[in-house]
């Protein structure tokens, strides 16, 4: 139906005008067709604020979320600023997610307020490709500031939500101005025919997206270049993961 498609396009343009996001955004595709297809414009919007959190126990250590964020930053060219309050990031692990030590500037700020200030400074600078900040609470005001700073320079901001206790993770339900909100939780990996561990597997859930639908997918963790993988057993299943809900 070409007529209704044209109407839809016009309506979308009007909404974009109203929300102030008029210019077409550059996007970073994940390289996984199942994932990109469901994201607005076919990839992760650049020059915006995104949020990533770990699920369940991962809300405290945020290890999978950190690898997911590192994978995104690794696929953007340029320097990355990583702001933390707790210094437990292990650089060799980041390097294995695709982010070598020569590309990361670390900032260890005393408290979350200064982490947010450093993140905003990094986003406003414009010379970086991405800024990652590990924060617990993220208010609407703070996230709007960060989003505007990111929009001004085209730097991508990733707020890695990480809490002191699992109970505090309920804060993730509060609204923020971020473009997308992801939850990355570890799930059991596929058994190998021999003893040992294969590639880690995540359930990557897009909890909220502006102008997009939430969904979740089982994916394989970042490889050495920051790319996610589609597990073979999911890819070959006739009813692929996203359509499961239609039958349940």
């Amino acid at each position: 139906m070409p007529a209704s498609a044209a109407t839809l396009t016009a309506l979308r343009a009007r909404i974009a005008d109203l929300s102030g996001d008029a210019q077409a955004r550059a996007v970073l595709p994940f390289g996984v067709a199942d994932l990109d297809r469901r994201l607005p414009q076919g990839g992760l919007a650049l020059g915006c604020l995104h949020e990533v959190a770990g699920g369940a126990g991962g809300a405290v250590d945020g290890a999978a979320a950190a690898c997911f964020a590192a994978g995104i930053a690794a696929r953007l060219p340029g320097q990355v600023l990583w702001c933390v309050t707790r210094a437990d990031l292990f650089a060799p692990g980041l390097a294995q997610a695709g982010l070598p030590p020569g590309r990361v500037i670390h900032v260890e700020a005393g408290d979350e307020a200064s982490v947010l200030a450093c993140m905003e400074e990094g986003l406003r600078h414009g010379g970086l490709s991405a800024v990652v900040a590990e924060v617990g609470r993220l208010s609407m005001t703070a996230s709007r500031r960060l989003h505007l700073a990111a929009k001004g320079t085209g730097t991508t901001g990733i707020a890695l939500r990480r809490w002191r206790a699992v109970a505090e993770a309920a804060d993730f339900g509060q609204p923020t101005a971020s473009m997308t909100r992801w939850q990355v939780s570890e799930i059991p990996s596929a058994a190998l025919p021999v003893p040992g561990l294969g590639r880690a597997r995540w359930r990557v859930a897009l909890v909220r997206a502006r102008a997009g639908e939430p969904f979740d997918l089982e994916l394989e963790a970042c490889d050495g270049t920051g790319h996610l993988g589609l597990p073979a057993d999911v890819a070959d299943r006739p009813a692929a993961a996203g359509r499961r809900y239609a039958f349940m």
């Binding site: 692990g93 020569g102 450093c118 414009g126």
Partner: protein, 503 residues
């Protein structure tokens, strides 16, 4: 409340000659320096060995030579000593605090108000200064107090390192001898004749008779030591440092006015730097208030810089830390550390320009502290916690770590003990209990054996760690290790630890 550090260098003339390298060490025989007072040749300085033989400043040289036959005598050079002391003060200023002055003949005084947090506290700052001086072969004692007078007295008449906490100058000074008050020797002798022995004795008596007998000097020095009258420290400003200064007809206090004046000062300074081909690495802004208190602000730069906009921005970020009081009447800006900065080509037509992040690093470093902005460089060590090192954000990073084995995204600051059940010697655990929750191990990989670095510590000669990657039933992956090889108790305690979490 001001905080002042006084450094006393009792052996300065001797230490200086020894550092210059043209004087053999004290082991070759006692050494004295001889100077002239009126028409007598007297000792002005004596090395430790000469002092142990009973020689000391003030003794005639002929008498000393009669007492010690193999005495070496060198000519004293007070002017050279003072020049060298100024160089030492400049070095202290570049490293520790913006306001430093020489306190002749053998001391340096530092206004440390609001600078100790940059060095990890007052005790750590004193330790750092004393450590650097001792390593350079300079004998020193050091003290910190509320006033110049008190710090001066404590450095010379108390222990090697003395800190008088704020507000305790009176108690700290009371037991010291009268000579600690910087009075002329004749006055000290006169006071001793009257029966005064310590500063405390002097504080206890009425002042009017003292002033009538000895003049105003005694109470003036006492007031200065107790902080009742001010004693400004006139900072050392060598002629070759780029400096700009502005004095105001009316004292200024508003943030916008201070910002505007900073802009003008930076403009002047950058013009000076440009004519010399230099860039600033460290800037000191000193705001002199109408009550003659100084408000110093120091900013550091990761690379030499003379871009006025950037320097202004860094200084203006610090305006909230300036307390203008009743108004600021003079502002001076000095490039304390400057390095050559030549124009260079940033981009060619073939290669696009790499974005410059030095500005960002400067802003962040001045906000959260220079040590908190860093890169992580690989270190050739198999022990995980030693395989990373923090380096300055602009240093070149060599290629990463060997990529043989997976490494976790989070490494705990120190390994946490866990409970496990595992078959020895080389099986992965069946379950682990960490921070009160139990995880059943579904899959595991290992062991990866890491040997202790016997060349670093004796205790690691036989130490072994066996690392396993384990995945629990919910898919979470942990990095755990067993201390010891599972057979020989001398290789470790065979206890289990959790060291990291994989993503």
């Amino acid at each position: 409340m001001a905080r002042v550090i006084s450094v006393c260098l009792p052996m300065w003339p001797i230490d200086r000659l020894r550092r210059a390298g043209d004087t053999p060490s004290c082991d070759d025989g006692p050494l004295i320096l001889a100077g002239r007072t009126s028409n007598r040749r007297v000792i002005t300085a004596a090395c430790a060995r000469a002092r142990s033989l009973g020689l000391g400043p003030g003794m005639p040289v002929s008498k000393a030579q009669a007492l010690v036959p193999d005495l070496r005598v060198l000519q004293a050079d007070p002017r050279g000593d003072l020049a060298a002391l100024e160089r030492l003060a400049l070095w202290l200023m570049q490293r520790f605090a913006p306001i430093v002055a020489v306190d002749p003949p053998e001391g340096v005084v530092i206004d440390a108000t609001g600078t100790d947090h940059l060095h990890g506290g007052e005790a750590a700052m004193l330790d750092a200064i004393l450590g650097r001086l001792t390593l350079s072969g300079i004998t020193a004692t050091i003290a910190m107090a509320d006033t110049w007078g008190a710090a001066h007295a404590l450095a010379r008449h108390a222990g090697a390192v003395t800190i008088a906490p704020p507000g305790t100058a009176r108690e700290a000074l009371a037991p010291l001898p009268l000579a600690a008050l910087r009075l002329p020797p004749a006055t000290v002798a006169g006071l001793a004749d009257m029966g005064f022995q310590t500063v405390g004795d002097l504080m206890a008596v009425p002042r009017a008779p003292l002033t009538r007998r000895f003049g105003p000097e005694v109470t003036r020095r006492l007031d200065q030591a107790l902080g009742l009258s001010g004693e400004p420290i006139d900072p050392l400003r060598p002629a070759d440092l780029a400096t700009s200064r502005r004095a105001f007809a009316e004292p200024i206090a508003a943030t916008e006015t201070i910002a505007r004046q900073i802009g003008r000062l930076v403009g002047d300074l950058c013009a000076q730097l440009e004519s010399r081909g230099m860039g600033a690495r460290r800037l000191d802004l000193i705001c002199w208030r109408v009550d003659s208190a100084a408000q110093p602000v120091r900013v550091g730069l990761a690379a030499p810089q003379r871009d006025p906009a950037r320097l202004t921005r860094l200084l203006c970020d610090k305006i909230p830390s300036i307390d203008p009081g009743f108004g600021i009447e003079i502002m001076t800006l000095t490039a304390t550390l400057a390095e050559p900065l030549a124009p260079r080509q940033r981009a060619t037509l073939l290669e696009p320009e790499a974005p410059d992040v030095t500005g960002l690093i400067d802003v962040l470093a001045n906000r959260v502290g220079a040590a908190a902005v860093f890169r992580i460089a690989p270190v050739a060590s198999e022990v995980p916690e030693r395989s990373v090192a923090r380096v300055a954000p602009l240093s070149a990073i060599p290629e990463g770590w060997p990529d043989h084995w997976p490494r976790p995204a989070r490494l705990l600051p120190r390994p946490e003990p866990i409970e496990t059940m595992a078959l020895l010697p080389d099986q992965a655990p069946h379950w682990i209990a960490w921070r009160g929750s139990r995880h059943r191990v579904a899959r595991a990989d290992g062991p990866e054996r890491i040997f202790g670095e016997w060349w670093k510590r004796e205790a690691e000669t036989r130490a072994v760690r066996d690392y396993f990657r384990v995945e629990d039933e919910s898919g979470r992956r942990f990095w755990i290790f067993r201390q010891g090889d599972g057979e020989d108790a001398s290789t470790g305690s065979h206890r289990w630890f959790l060291h990291g979490v994989f993503g």
